[in-house]
């Protein structure tokens, strides 16, 4: 019981940090975490729990506690945290492989995708981030132009999931499917869905995603 209420207090504190529209509290939060010796990924992880809480409050049909404006402001603050923490990640040791990453067409969520990109970079991958709301043709073009080892796609919306299938088909039609390994992830994606569309891997979060990317590189060798 006591643990529950500590957890609740913790979450409501994280939510209040994420909902400060001026961004002062997120800066203070990140700084104090770093001062106490936490590494950037731990900070991302904590903030993600706060975002989950906002997402739950947004989605709960019986008791909706958060609204569109809360999603926008929390997203903005998460981006502020990424800007602040990115330079503090361990120095890059390039050369593990090249990943092209983007969020599929119709979806503008870029936080998870960006954190995953940063995770890969700090592990030594070279990452080409082609942004959000990326149409199929642009994914295909990026694969043609960069000849990456891996293509990573993110989708947070259930409605945009079919786009992932589309991109894989687009790559096959253009003759690139056998030249690149594909990993998918994001809030809306499941392992089963990844398999059903013929992706090579799925990552529930950045840590699993990184492990899978390392595996894909091993398989490639």
């Amino acid at each position: 019981m006591a643990d529950d209420s500590i957890q609740e207090d913790r979450l409501s504190y994280l939510v209040s940090v994420l909902l400060d529209f001026k961004g002062t509290r997120i800066r203070e939060f990140c700084q104090s975490k770093l001062d106490s010796g936490a590494d950037p990924f731990t900070v991302f992880g904590e903030l993600q729990a706060g975002l989950e809480e906002i997402g739950k409050g947004y989605e709960d049909p019986r008791f909706r506690r958060y609204f569109n404006s809360d999603l926008i402001v929390s997203g903005r603050n998460m981006k502020r945290a990424i800007e602040l923490l990115k330079p503090l990640l361990p120095p890059r040791k390039d050369g593990k492989g090249h990943v092209v990453i983007g969020t599929v067409a119709g979806d503008v969520h870029d936080i998870g995708k960006t954190i995953f990109a940063v995770t890969l970079e700090s592990d030594g991958f070279i990452v080409t981030d082609i942004g959000v709301d990326v149409p199929c043709a642009r994914f295909v073009e990026a694969v043609r132009k960069n000849a990456p080892d891996i293509l990573a796609m993110s989708s947070l919306l259930t409605t945009t999931l079919p786009e992932m299938r589309n991109v894989i088909k687009g790559l096959s039609d253009a003759g690139f499917r056998n030249k690149v390994r594909i990993i998918v992830g994001g809030h809306a994606v499941t392992e089963g869905f990844a398999q059903s569309i013929g992706a090579d891997a799925y990552g529930r979060d950045c840590v699993e995603g990184l492990r899978k990317c390392r595996m894909l590189m091993q398989e490639r060798k």
Partner: protein, 319 residues
Amino acid sequence: MPDAHAGKEMRIFFLYSGPFGEQIINTVSLGGLGDQVSGAYELRPEHILVPGGDTEGSESLFENPERYIPTDFPVAQADLLIILGIHGRLSDLVPCIARRLGVRSVLYPIDDRDTIPEAKKTISDELTEFGIYIEFPEPFCSLQRSGDPCINEFLKFFGRPLLKVITDPGSGIIHHIEVIRDTPCGSASCIAGKLAGADSGDLDTLSRFCYDEQHNDEADNYCLAEMDPRYPLMQEAGDLLKDALFEGCGHPATKDTILSVLRQSGETGVEDLAMQVVGLPCSMTASGCITRRAFDLYLRELKEEHRIVITSSSTVMLI
């Protein structure tokens, strides 16, 4: 009834929730009305509505709202109560709170479908019974005039954006923009500040800048209205801002375009007119809006201004 407050400055009280409300309170306070804010109170749903608890149903709240006013609610007086983003179910508390504060008017903007008051009509009726005026602008920045003096006082500062663009007479380069009326979220003055040095004749760039910048979350102030394509309040706010800028520059805005289409084509069906105006690219002779909502708003206004008539068979004619 003698007005005890006549001649004094209008006092404003905010009942709000979340960053949507905070941003507006911040803008209003910094934008000229700070001295007139008599108080603000954050009404979070968690404080009152407990899932599974006895207050979950709106019934008891509806029947006995006074009981649910938080005990730490401040003792304050105000003329205008502005409600910002509170949970729709908590709107039952508004009449009680309005009377406690002694307000004459209530401004209840709707910038998100999910915050629409559950009992809009009941609230209106109840307030009207007590002689309190209420208005529900949707989105907030669409409001430019009101039937109420208090709200009109507020609209001298905030509401539908109104801009005066000062350009260099030779080059047409924007020297500066005077913000006569800012959007309540502050995005209009934020954008105006960034437009100094832009070419007032480059309509495409100006309009694109408006639409992009209006919800750019990298800016100090930005639109937080709902953006769902099925209920595009944010996009409509973008239209209103683009038109304010075009009017300020002396370029044809959407309303001018509606009138000029009617001048050329004569009586036109509403749907046909919408097809010609919504999505029309900007040029020196015409410019459209991107949302049907803005088009419908302009049409209503032109009708109220007695510049057009809309017939029973849904055709539009110039007067």
